[in-house]
């Protein structure tokens, strides 16, 4: 009887150590993705008040001494030179009777013939955040869908294995369960109040 009891303790001790080791190593492995998803989460949460992926700059300026035909290549070259646009030209589109849109790599110029004014809009990807949002919102699709699934499964494992990391007064059985319930109350309260 004594022997089997010792074996039982051994088995539980081994599982405890194994769980800690897995939790530690998977935790290390997930640090990068957790940060990417968390930072992107904050950024995307506030999408109504800002653009989390792009910095868009708008300006308006009068431009003079341009060739007469706005639909000519000569005009486009002169306009981009005057506006200081150095990126490659993509296309031009007649938008309305008085407006032509010129598209460049990273910028768009709306030329108003009547006012002789250019409305310039430049678009830049936010460094780091664009990529984080690209992954978080799964714009990549395909293989990334499965990578994100595996990551989600690892997060589930980390959250559950975390419950059994500590023994004693600070363990799940004594103090931990109270905090777990406190954490669950927050989303449940929102559900009952708002949904």
């Amino acid at each position: 009887m004594q022997r089997s009891g010792e074996n039982g303790v051994d088995w539980r001790k081994k599982l405890f150590v194994l769980n800690r080791s897995f939790h530690r190593d998977i935790g290390y492995f997930c640090v990068g993705l957790i940060l990417i998803y968390a930072i992107s989460g904050i950024a995307v949460n506030h999408i109504d008040s800002w653009n989390p992926s792009y910095v868009i700059t708008r300006s308006e300026q009068a431009v003079s001494d341009l060739p007469t035909n706005p639909e000519s290549d000569e005009f486009e070259k002169a306009l981009s030179q005057k506006l200081g646009i150095t990126t490659s030209f993509r296309s031009r589109v007649r938008d309305t009777q008085e407006e032509i849109i010129f598209f460049y790599e990273g910028s768009r110029v709306v030329w108003n013939e009547t006012k002789q004014q250019a409305y310039v809009e430049t678009t830049e990807k936010r460094p780091g955040l664009f990529f984080a949002n690209y992954l978080h919102l799964n714009k990549a699709k395909r293989v990334w869908t499965y990578v994100a699934d595996v990551f989600a499964i690892l997060l589930i494992y980390l959250s559950l294995s975390g419950l059994f990391m500590v023994k004693g007064a600070n363990g799940f059985g004594r103090r931990g369960w109270v905090l777990v319930i406190a954490g669950l109350v927050i989303p449940l309260a929102f559900y009952f109040l708002y949904v």
């Binding site: 868009i56 919102l137 714009k139």
Partner: protein
């Protein structure tokens, strides 16, 4: 090592020039001119069509719609997708694209028309007077399930 770097650089360069498919994809060759559709739009409502043109604008925050040029009275075609299913990249403005999906007719009330035009004006930073709108609009759009955007 040098060979490997060369191969990687070549692959990345080629991918930048390749057309980019979204969702179920679409073919430029299948595109129906908007002028043909608008001759009798009712006959296309509810049917799958492919349209193409230059991308004039893209939803800045969510990439959930884009506007293409058309050959019909300087009008733009609005391509709408379900949020998140397809995300049109903002940096694709000025490129050629084709989109495939259901051709939809949306009858706006006068109030909706004012809101719609105000929203467009705000996005384009143009002045707008709601009192100038006297008639309700009909908007046609393609609810896209697939699209292709020309590479560099």
């Amino acid at each position: 090592m040098k060979k490997m770097i060369f191969v990687l650089v070549t692959v990345f360069s080629m991918s930048a020039f390749a057309d980019k498919n979204f969702g179920a994809g679409a073919k430029f060759a299948d595109a129906v001119p908007m002028s043909k559709i608008m001759k009798n739009p009712e006959s296309y409502v509810g049917k799958e069509v492919t349209v193409s043109g230059v991308i004039v604008d893209v939803c800045e925050k969510r990439g959930c719609w884009m506007q293409l040029t058309s050959d019909y009275q300087n009008e733009k075609v609005r391509i709408k997708v379900n949020d998140g299913e397809i995300v049109f990249p903002l940096e694709s403005r000025g490129k050629k694209a084709a989109a495939k999906g259901e051709f939809k007719k949306i009858n706006l009330s006068l109030e909706q028309t004012k809101n719609y035009l105000q929203h467009i004006a705000e996005e384009n930073k143009k002045p707008f007077d709601p009192a100038s709108v006297k008639e309700a609009m009909v908007v046609y759009q393609v609810q896209a399930t697939g699209a292709v955007i020309q590479g560099n």
